[in-house]
Symmetry: C2
Subunit: 547 residues, 2 copies
């Protein structure tokens, strides 16, 4: 049996688009003499469809799309992910299933048993857990067909109380096929291979793994579909951050690939992050139907990095940078920004905000009389810039890119409705130290981001001689503490015991908790870490833990 | 056995505060010769603690609080909700439990079996489902102790595949005790009584039900704890939107209350909503540690209503209204607003935005040269107002109240970073027609909201002679379609079949879906309906369903 793996970039709820891609791939598989083609989890509707799944109308459209795809399955069998209706009255109404389509119809559905409900995942919100795991025989080959998380209940502290592969194994399958929607984070491609190999070693079976690729707002799918033999040798690996089509043969219980594909992934941590973010920006615009981005270029490292990523994602013609100096901006800020703009070839303009700032302070003069300059006036500058950028966005159809980083989002070092505006946050999952490292990666051969931007001390430039270090510890220290609290979920005692200053730890943790209200109103953040701000980290706003 | 029901307003993560309230209630119960006192679900940490539950440190603090409370339980038994550790390796690490505390220690824990994971609930995100349901005997009384949802798997299409009360019933308990964190919506107090009575009729047992009260950001708990005899007669009902303490006696399998309390709830739909919103605003400020609110008063009905609710929640001294007329504001707008301010006795000021508007258009003159006035200039006015309000908020420590209604949030008829700013959205779960009805309720005896505000056609007043009806259908029609799509989750075909114009339905549904990006950045919305925007309705931003 010849098997195709189709790694596609879907569009949530766009059934016509998804179906047409899937059917094109089926036609290609037929031309390449495949007997089976495998698509990803929830391929038919894209992942995650979220509460669209609460709409019977949406489910009906999924089923209708499955039937349309089935009618293309003549002389070939396809495995396609989609929601299926739970025939039992008890329990939730739908399953997250792998459909097996053959001879123009649905011949089998395998419902996902283990429903990830943590971090960015909410599957038990909509799906009932599949209970009747059984193998499917296609072309005389008995297949343990599983959906994503069904293979993940491994290790010493398993998250679930059932093991679908244990049930399937009793039927003596010859191969495991896993259809997945496994989102990227900088550790996940490695974790995934490890878990799949554990399954291979436990069950002594070859394994085919098909993932989605492409971005759905904040959630980035990296692709990287996999073909392993029963020894755990990797025979082929799909491209990362691109669509792909792989073919293998399965005969006499052995899996082979004709053109052995080596690993297509890079080992460079920041290359992964770079490619993920570029795909994230590109897909956000493409799937929303937008072309052009705008952003404020402050002269600092964050907006410089976002400009580079946007130019690579959208093309230099589609990025417009606006410099909005105030009386507190250093002279370098504009000249460094202009150098970056020249290096990249994006368009730019300068809109000084001095007059607007004076206009606001004079409107508020009576209210503010006798009161000193404080954070109010700092925020005012940031908000004037936000209003200008949004006006340009509205007038010309630009989408505003947000340039906040994870460190400042964590401690609330940013202005709501000011520099926290934007349609999508590009680097909001990168700590400031990671922002520097990614800039160095970008500059590894040529100086794209001007040296002046990389070497000057970080500053919001919202008052005279301001530096981030006036009110925050050095970023190496801040980011280390934040990582332990956010990614590692360690409490204050553990972080202090790890060698950090007690008062500093308590102050920073309090800042993180007290700024949930700001993060609640930020744009969606492209997720590249195992614990990003946004839907994967849900915290009470009105609370007093560690307060 | 004399039993006390303690209906308290907790603060999430504030263990000292919660413990001290719980221990005070235990002391009162002792003084009133009770042998048992019952508190709500997750009383020890407040509900919902969300991802604080991912922190071992947080769980440790919960356990430590439980032990502190236990040490007060001498001569009395207390049932207190809190997370408990799952002793098994398999499955999630914690349960959502009812602790039974007696003789200074934990004598029993009953783990919740049915974990609501829909709408605003995410319980399977953190908790393992309890599997070993067994009764607990206190003072020779065998009690079926259950946690909230455990009693809710009723009806023809049950959501779960297990029935904890069926298991408990086999041990022949004498009474059901249910500890709950059951949030308010305008249908829920009725639904709750119906479900509890179904349990009573099925199991022929008396029932004690203890709920939380108070607001946690968007989620409002209404209290209304209940005591039923085995016939389903309601013997006592806790106050709504206030703390309460009820006492009953249980002897010879019969439950009695000495001072029969009649139903404390009102039958007026808008009285419920009114009281819920006032509590929501009050608790947001009290638990955040804020006193004073600010808001923009446009002369329209939405901001007028929010001003009234804020004045009732916080006191007239703590509300500051700002009128910011533009060249497009009608003369009535300011005079009607001034009348409202006088009626209420709140403070106010007028800040015309004409100069600021000109300052922006002149800064942008080169960019906008030759281009007509459009939505850009409309948004600009809204954003100038947002910046002014935030400047006053920053300078004087006011919290900005958002005044958007559900109809405009649904169709995106509002300006991001303009009128969509604020710390909390007060009426974002009320359709425009409900806003009118609530204003009429407020004016039922005296004209508090000036008639001019209620009778003039709704308008954003962002261009000459603008009316909402220029671009939207009448609100009666719009709201009816929105309700069917949002609350009822009906698809376009069903809504059209119900007698609505096809093109209009498709246009409105598309507007709802296309404005997810705006709603993603709105403040938390006080939830009063069964389906509010916010954490209870999670939709993809980048998608094309019905697009």
């Amino acid at each position: 049996m010849r098997i195709a793996l189709s790694q596609l970039n879907y569009h949530i709820g766009n059934f016509e688009f998804n179906c047409s891609k899937i059917i094109d791939a089926i036609e290609r598989a037929k031309r390449e003499n495949c007997q089976l083609i495998v698509f990803a989890e929830l391929a038919v509707c894209g992942y995650p469809p979220l509460d669209f799944l609460d709409y019977n109308d949406f489910i009906k459209r999924c089923l209708s799309a499955i039937n349309t795809i089935a009618s293309s399955c003549k002389g070939i069998t396809a495995i396609v992910g989609g929601p299926s209706v739970n025939p039992e009255l008890n329990g939730k109404n739908i399953f997250n299933s792998a459909y097996v389509l053959s001879d123009g119809k649905i011949i089998h559905t395998a419902a996902k048993t283990l429903l990830p409900t943590y971090d960015v995942f909410d599957e038990y919100r909509w799906f009932e857990s599949g209970k009747n795991n059984s193998c499917i025989t296609i072309d005389n080959t008995k297949i343990a067909l599983t959906v994503c998380e069904d293979l993940w209940n491994m290790g010493d502290d398993p998250l679930y109380t059932s093991w679908p592969m244990e049930v399937l194994q009793k039927e003596q399958p010859e191969i495991i096929i896993n259809i997945a929607a496994s989102p990227f984070n900088y550790l996940h491609a490695g974790d995934r291979k490890e878990i799949l190999k554990k399954n291979i070693h436990t069950y002594q079976l070859p394994l085919i793994y098909v993932n989605q690729v492409g971005a759905h707002t904040d959630i980035l799918f990296d692709g990287g579909s996999l073909i392993y033999n029963e020894k755990g040798n990797l025979l082929a690996e799909g491209k990362y951050f691109e669509e792909d089509f792989l073919v293998c043969d399965f005969n006499n219980k052995k899996i082979t690939v004709s053109d052995h594909k080596p690993s297509s992934g890079t080992n460079d941590h920041y290359a992964w992050i770079h490619d993920a973010l570029v795909m994230g920006v590109r897909d956000y615009f493409a799937k929303m139907g937008f072309k052009k981005a705008i952003l404020g270029l402050s002269g600092g490292i964050d907006s410089a990095l976002v400009t580079v990523l946007a130019a690579r994602a959208l093309g230099t013609d589609n990025v417009h940078a606006v410099m909005m100096p105030s009386e507190f901006s250093s002279s370098h800020s504009v000249s460094d920004s202009e150098q970056l703009v020249r290096n990249l070839g994006v368009s730019s303009e300068i809109l000084p905000i001095k007059d607007l700032y004076q206009s606001f302070t004079s409107t508020l003069a009576e209210d503010f009389m006798g009161l000193p300059f404080n954070v109010t006036e700092e925020n005012l500058q940031a908000r004037i810039r936000g209003v200008l950028l949004m006006a340009l966005s509205n007038k010309f159809g630009y989408i505003l890119l947000n340039t906040s980083n994870k460190s400042e989002l964590a401690v609330g070092y940013g202005t709501l409705y000011g520099d926290m505006c934007g349609g999508i946050s590009v680097i909001g999952d990168l700590y400031k130290t990671e922002v520097f490292a990614l800039c160095n990666y970008i500059n590894r051969e040529t100086e794209i981001i001007p040296g002046g931007i990389l070497t000057k001390p970080p500053s919001a430039e919202l008052r005279h001689d301001q530096k981030d270090s006036d009110s925050l510890p050095p970023y190496e220290i801040l980011d280390r503490i934040l990582f332990q609290y956010i990614e590692k979920a360690l409490g204050p005692d553990e972080i202090i015991k790890a060698g950090n200053d007690k008062d500093l730890v308590l102050r920073i943790l309090r800042m993180v908790n007290n700024n949930e209200y700001k993060r609640f109103q930020t744009p969606p953040i492209l997720r590249i870490s195992p614990k990003a701000f946004g839907r994967g980290r849900r915290m009470p706003l009105v609370a007093k833990y560690l307060g």
